[in-house]
């Protein structure tokens, strides 16, 4: 897919084109009410012939692009009468700019037919600029009067993102509320998660067999939250292992993960009072290369035959290579990842799989700290919010598309806009 040059991403592509398949957006300055108007205009002009289409863009204005770091001025206009879907004559709009109202004006960019706005991102803050919009059509070019001065400046608050802020505050609020309520002594109900129960069982089995336990924390670095969740689960497994006094081996694909895993496992051994059993050589770095890492871990598996393999973190194509190799040595396998593309392979090849969100729930559950359970409850409230929005939004949109009653259409459009996050 190609992004069109000289258009503000997101906004124009999605909303401001008089697209036959979408409504016009309220946010980009073209209220939904304009669509019928546009249709009327086209009807009216259809009979008038091409002579009338000579007129160019009207109502041209220019001003600072809101909610940005400055260095951008937005030029907007009403599309020319000849700018329409069928038998259109307009081929585009050329934007001209000058530092003085007298000119000289130089062309700085072009917008497609159907566009009603152009963001000039090649300006400095605090300087006066003047603009003209030249409508290019098959009948020739028409220039608008000079508009200006316009000045770009930086803002402190991005008001375009108010909806993200609302959702953020809601989610964080619920999370903190439930964490605090557990701290105050409430006990939440958490349903059974199959993969979770298997963790202790799998550790026990390895101990009985006297064979090592392999923990693979994924192949991503500490900048992936999945790795963080995986390491938290590693902490729990390490505590159990330390109690049983069996061997835990953690090969990592990133040096930082190795470092963090060592801290976590050492802490776990310490917390059950067995600091002497901890051997940092069992947590080692292999290589950053995805398939080099897999080659190394595969080699470890077939030579040392661990009884249990955990995969907790971010995985890519290596998921199935690891799972099939470890299956061939008869190991019990528990996987957990939030990589949607790899879940099918873990589900097919492993004994237990923590699916997506379950990985994070498990990390909270196994952390051993009751208050972390509050975050699971917080996640659920988020889901509830999402589900309600989906039902409400789909119902509104469906009704609106059938009935077409304007307030309904606008309400539906509002729900949809509320969940839109593309930067305008």
């Amino acid at each position: 897919m190609r992004r069109q040059p000289a258009r503000s991403p997101g906004c124009l592509d999605r909303h401001c084109l008089p697209s036959p398949t979408g409504y016009r957006s309220g946010r980009c300055g073209g209220p939904a009410a304009l669509l019928p108007l546009l249709v009327l205009t086209i009807w009216a002009l259809a009979g008038a012939g091409l002579a009338r289409a000579q007129a160019g863009a009207s109502d041209v204005s220019a001003g600072d692009t809101p909610s940005d770091r400055g260095e951008s001025i937005t030029v907007s206009w009403e599309p020319a009468p000849g700018d329409r879907l069928v038998d259109g004559t307009v081929t585009g709009y050329r934007i001209l700019r000058s530092r003085s109202p007298e000119g000289p004006f130089e062309a700085i960019g072009q917008a497609s037919p159907g566009a009603a706005r152009y963001d000039d991102a090649d300006v400095e803050n605090g300087i006066d600029y003047f603009y003209r919009v030249e409508t290019l059509s098959l009948e020739g070019a028409v220039r608008s009067p000079v508009i200006g001065p316009a000045v770009a400046q930086a803002q402190w608050i991005n008001t375009n993102q108010w909806n993200v802020f609302v959702v953020l505050v809601l989610l964080l609020g619920f999370n903190i509320y439930y964490i605090e309520s557990i701290r105050a002594g409430q006990k939440p109900f958490i349903r059974k998660i199959a993969g979770l129960e298997a963790v202790n069982e799998a550790v026990g089995r390895a101990t009985e067999m006297g064979r090592p336990i392999l923990f693979v924390p994924g192949i991503q670095d500490m900048n992936d939250i999945q790795t963080v969740a995986g390491i938290t689960i590693l902490g729990h497994i390490a505590r159990t292992v330390a109690e049983y006094d069996s061997q835990l081996v953690v090969p990592t694909s990133r040096a930082l993960v190795m470092t963090t895993a060592r801290e976590t496992v050492r802490e776990a051994y310490l917390s059950v009072g067995r600091p002497d059993s901890y051997d940092e050589n069992n947590i080692y770095y292999v290589t950053d290369e995805q398939f080099g890492y897999v080659a190394g871990v595969n080699g470890y598996m077939v030579r040392n035959k661990p009884a249990t393999c955990f995969y907790m973190g971010a995985f890519f194509a290596e998921s199935l290579i690891l799972a099939e190799t470890s299956n061939s040595i008869g190991a019990i396998q528990v996987a957990g990842t939030a990589m949607p593309a790899q879940l099918p392979f873990f589900v097919a090849a492993c004994d237990y799989t923590l699916i997506g969100e379950e990985l994070f729930a498990a990390s909270a559950y196994l952390s051993g700290e009751p208050k972390q359970l509050g975050s699971i409850k917080g996640q659920d409230v988020g889901k509830f919010l999402g589900m309600v929005s989906i039902v409400l939004g789909v119902a509104l949109l469906t009704l609106a598309s059938v009935v077409g009653w304007e307030p309904l259409v606008q309400a539906a459009e509002f729900v949809r806009e509320f969940w839109s996050t593309e930067l305008a």
């Binding site: 069109q4 036959p20 879907l85 038998d87 259109g88």
Partner: protein, 296 residues
């Protein structure tokens, strides 16, 4: 425990290495022998083919090539097949590109296919290239009414008026088919919206496998047929090869998509075979276990 159940038991827990061996042999042999299979065209592919076949000799077809080298592996086979079929049918081909690099793709098929394989076809009489013009769907909307307002020359700078096959052509309204190869925006969708439907011109074409689902809703009302990715290209090649047997002689040249599907198909069938096998043995053993449990 009879012999039959022993065999079933063995197959049920078949060593992985047998599976590996079968997959390996499947890929190696089908790669060496360039195996191809009788692809069964899906209705959407068949209707593209039948539409082109049904056009009388000399019909005007506009071929927008809206893709670039990034999607070449997926789209080139179908672009080649389109051009070959049009050349075989003696249709007049008008190439055009809404993507800047699309005109390189057009130049590619003109060099590699039309000039090499069909030297009797003449530029300007049998085919021509408008080249690339910026403006996306704007270009489409304009040439629907008046080509010469936007194009005074072709891609090589020759005046439109001096090109024989442009004589009497004012816009693309009178064309018989829009046959696109498209990798995104602008592409097939824009040709439907801004030319096909308003101008009542049949639109058919191909796109990448990922995009195909987004375009399905236009079929069959506004879109004659749609081809998604390399598999559809293989089906199309199969149809063409059936009608024009000479294409079967040099598979590597004419049937690239079919050849690429060869190892894929064999291995898929091998995997399907193993799944079926595993389930048969699994059911037999399960029944046996149930019977034994009843006896006890």
């Amino acid at each position: 425990m009879n012999r039959f159940h022993q065999i079933v038991e063995f197959v049920n827990d078949l060593d992985k290495r047998w599976v590996f061996l079968v997959v390996g042999l499947a890929v190696v042999t089908s790669t060496i022998f360039r195996l191809t299979f009788p692809e069964i065209p899906t209705p959407m592919v068949r209707s593209v083919y039948e539409k082109v076949e049904s056009l009388p000799e000399g019909s005007r077809v506009i071929l927008p090539f809206d893709y670039d080298p990034a999607s070449e592996p997926e789209l080139q086979p179908m672009a080649n097949a389109f051009v070959r079929l049009c050349a075989e049918r003696n249709l007049k081909m008008y190439f055009i590109a809404l993507w800047p690099l699309g005109q390189n793709m057009v130049a590619g098929v003109i060099d590699d296919i039309l000039q090499t394989e069909y030297p009797h076809l003449e530029y300007g009489r049998d085919y021509m290239d408008f080249g690339y013009k910026s403006g996306n769907e704007g270009v489409v909307a304009v040439i629907l009414t008046d080509i010469k307002k936007l194009y005074t020359t072709d891609a090589h700078g020759t005046a439109i008026d001096s090109i024989p096959m442009m004589a009497g052509v004012r816009n693309i309204r009178g064309f018989d088919l829009i046959l696109t190869v498209s990798a995104g925006y602008p592409g097939l969708k824009e040709w439907i919206q801004y030319a096909g439907t308003p101008g009542n011109i049949p639109v058919a074409g191909g796109c990448t496998a990922v995009q195909a689902p987004l375009l399905y809703p236009y079929y069959p009302d506004q879109l004659v047929g749609l081809m998604g990715g390399i598999k559809a290209a293989a089906e199309f090649e199969a149809l063409v090869a059936e009608a024009y047997p000479k294409f079967q002689e040099d598979k590597d040249r004419f049937l690239t998509a079919l050849v690429r599907m060869g190892p894929q198909t064999v291995t898929h069938l091998a995997i399907i075979f193993f799944i079926v096998l595993g389930n048969i043995t699994f059911q037999i053993l399960r029944r046996k276990r149930q019977q034994e449990a009843l006896k006890r």
